[in-house]
């Protein structure tokens, strides 16, 4: 199994980054730090899916005059383009909500917000 993991070192790095993002969301108290962790989780998933389409000695899938097979697969790249834009949209809305919470309650620490209820 260790040899299989050494072959797929890209995927193992994505799993480690995903777990670091999960740790930031669970263990940190500040709301803005939690959203930084959420962005790290999202980019870890993007890196995993893009790494699925990579091929040995592959070239970008642009059929210009100097293109030669094998090509990197274009389908994961198209999915991740959509994913990146959706990630920035959710980050924008989340940060707007954080600004409003700070204006209403005066704090953005999660345990103080829980005490206030």
């Amino acid at each position: 199994m260790l040899a299989a993991l050494w072959n797929n070192v890209d995927y193992v790095a994505s799993v480690v980054l995903f777990l670091i993002g999960l740790y930031i969301i669970i263990a940190k108290n500040n709301l803005i730090k939690k959203f930084l962790g959420l962005n790290i989780m999202e980019t870890a998933i993007f890196s995993f899916i893009v790494a699925l389409g990579v091929i040995d000695r592959g070239t970008p899938p642009v059929m210009g005059p100097d293109a030669q097979p094998p090509y990197t697969s274009p389908v994961p790249q198209a999915l991740i383009l959509t994913g990146i834009v959706v990630a920035v949209s959710t980050t924008a809305l989340a940060l707007s909500l954080v600004i409003r919470i700070y204006q209403q309650r005066g704090t953005i620490e999660a345990d103080e917000l829980r005490e206030m209820e």
Partner: protein
């Protein structure tokens, strides 16, 4: 097969993510997150995905960092 360049970039990514987790100053954490986005763009460009790399550089390092900086300027600067 992964070359040494890829393994160095991946280790750098993990180190930057750990630095984001440990920094208490939120402004510094946002700038370190912008560096994370840049290293990710380099990794994808090296792997043969120029479209995704350009989108991540423009959107991740440009737009997301700006949004985080505006949010920090309107709320707190350090986490407790």
């Amino acid at each position: 097969m992964s070359t040494a360049f890829d393994i160095v970039l991946l280790l750098l990514l993990i180190a930057i993510a750990l630095a984001v987790a440990r920094t208490k100053d939120l402004l510094a954490a946002s700038i370190i997150f912008s560096a994370y986005s840049l290293v990710l763009c380099l990794l994808w460009q090296h792997r043969g995905s120029p479209d995704v790399a350009m989108t991540e550089a423009a959107v991740g390092a440009g737009i997301t960092t700006v949004l985080f900086l505006v949010a920090i300027s309107k709320t707190v600067r350090r986490e407790k």
